[in-house]
Amino acid sequence: MSLANFTKTEFKNLFRKPATEKYPDGPATYKDTTRGHIENNMDTCVLCSVCQMRCPTGAITVDRKAQTWSIRPFSCIQCRRCVDNCPKKSLSMAKEYTKPDVVKSQMDFELSDRQKAVLAEQARQAAERVAAAMEERKKAAASAKQTKDGEAKKSEDNKTQ
């Protein structure tokens, strides 16, 4: 048992620089691995909705008609599940934490014009392919009918003979 055990540490602390960060005045430091918030690259997103399906809290909403991707940052639990499951590697985890707010806001992101054009082009090509396939099917059906009719006529002719 000895007196004033902690005094040495206390004196040392007087001459050390503070152990804490002056966060609101200075920038906060984060580790490279910190899971802060989700970011979506609207140049590569294809609005596939996989993130919406995988999100355990339902924080992500994908609207294909309006071509928007929305996240409610106050519902997001930063589990990184959407990032791991994104097929286009469009989602990423940024280091900074979400900023505080007075309302539980929702952040909407619209697809970039370039990506909108890409998606429209893809949709047009897909529609073309579908139309072509339908056309082919129709033709095939028509030709099959013709041959069937021809065969039927032949058999009728045979019968009359």
Partner: protein, 360 residues
């Protein structure tokens, strides 16, 4: 003339209490004659969510049962499901789990030291210990990406690997923390002012500790050598460590056991980093769990039981958690009998109460 009995309600909101526990203190002349604890103020119904969440998603909910032993809760749930599905995680996954478990234990014990210092009114010691807790949190953040909720557990292994360079960076940090805690240890274990608040306060005999079903450091401080880590789950079977006990049975003994366990955890982490296997971290799983299993693991506060009953569907039928604080409350009521009213906050803190995980 016999002293007049009066009842002092203590908590659930109380300046010295970090946790919402309510105790009715029956007092006689500043002495507590009887303590009647009651809990149930922060029930959230997390166990019932198991019937509404996919069994893989439930890991996130299990982690959120408690903010301090979050890794342990995630581990307990995943361990039970892995036993039901007959999955053996790979070596590296087991070692990283052990490492993170021990980091959480260090974090929890250092946090407790701070709360203890705060309870007996030593504010600068409180700040000093939390300085080292911050270093442990930084290590956890570097390893997993989260400071409190790690989201690294997954049925079948881990969601992401912790690279070897980050792990080797832990070694100098551990030395620094250990050095700092050794400086604080002198204040906790040999300062006369502190000893006056700890020595002989809240004595619990070995027999009583066993009879009342105590858990964790609270039990070990009464001289009972019981530690669930000795069962060898995760990679504990490969680690070299002994159970730390103290024969004091009072608040001083509990302080001693927890401080020694911080050094022990640092040693286990060093062993983990040294023996870390190279193979993968994840075993793919197939199908849904079908069956039931009960597992017990050693949380920082003591043994925690996890029971899972699955019926081969996407959703699990029942999950039940028994937390160490719940087991320690009867013994707390026993130690409070006969103590001074001024010692009540210290005694409540010595069981390291975590009411949020007790009520879930």
């Amino acid at each position: 003339m016999a002293a007049k009995r009066s009842v002092i309600p203590f908590g659930p909101q109380h300046p010295v209490l970090p946790e919402p526990i309510h105790i009715d203190l029956v007092t006689e002349d500043e002495k507590v004659v009887e303590a009647i604890p009651s809990i149930g103020f922060v029930h959230r119904g997390l166990e019932n969510l198991v019937t509404k969440k996919d069994f893989g998603e439930m890991v996130y909910v299990a982690e959120r049962i408690c903010g301090i032993c979050s890794f342990g809760h995630g581990y307990g749930y995943v361990d039970a499901i892995e036993h039901i599905m007959n999955i053996e995680p790979t070596g590296r996954a087991k070692y990283i789990r052990t490492l993170l478990f021990e980091l959480s234990r260090m974090h929890s014990h250092i946090l407790w030291l701070g709360l203890m210092a705060d309870a007996f009114g030593f504010e600068s010691l409180f700040m000093e210990t939390w300085k080292y807790r911050e270093k442990v949190l930084d290590m956890l953040e570097a390893a997993t990406g989260g400071r409190v909720i790690f989201s690294i557990m997954r049925i079948g292994g881990l969601r992401k690997d912790v690279p070897d360079d980050i792990l080797s960076g832990f070694l100098p940090e551990l030395d620094k923390i250990e050095e700092g805690i050794r400086a604080c240890e002198k204040a906790f274990l040999s300062d006369p002012a502190v000893l006056g608040r700890l020595k002989g306060v809240g004595y619990l005999s070995k027999e009583d500790a066993v009879k009342l079903g105590c858990e964790g450091p609270f039990l070990r401080a009464s001289g009972v050598a019981r530690d669930n880590r000795m069962k060898g789950y995760a990679a504990y079977s490969d680690m070299d460590f002994d159970i730390i006990t103290s024969d004091d049975g009072d608040s001083y003994g509990r302080c001693y056991v927890r401080i020694q366990e911080i050094y022990q955890s640092a040693n286990i982490i060093r062993q983990c980093i040294e023996k870390m296997p190279k193979e993968g971290i994840y075993v793919p799983i197939k199908g849904f769990p079908n069956g039931e299993y009960m597992t017990i693991i050693e949380q920082p506060r003591g043994g925690a039981c996890y029971y899972v009953h699955a019926s081969g569907k996407k959703f699990i039928e029942r999950m039940r958690v028994r937390t160490p604080t719940f087991a320690n409350i009867p013994a707390l009521a026993k130690t409070l009998q006969g103590c001074d009213v001024a010692d009540v906050p210290i005694l409540v803190v010595t069981i390291d109460p975590c009411i949020s995980c007790t009520e879930r």
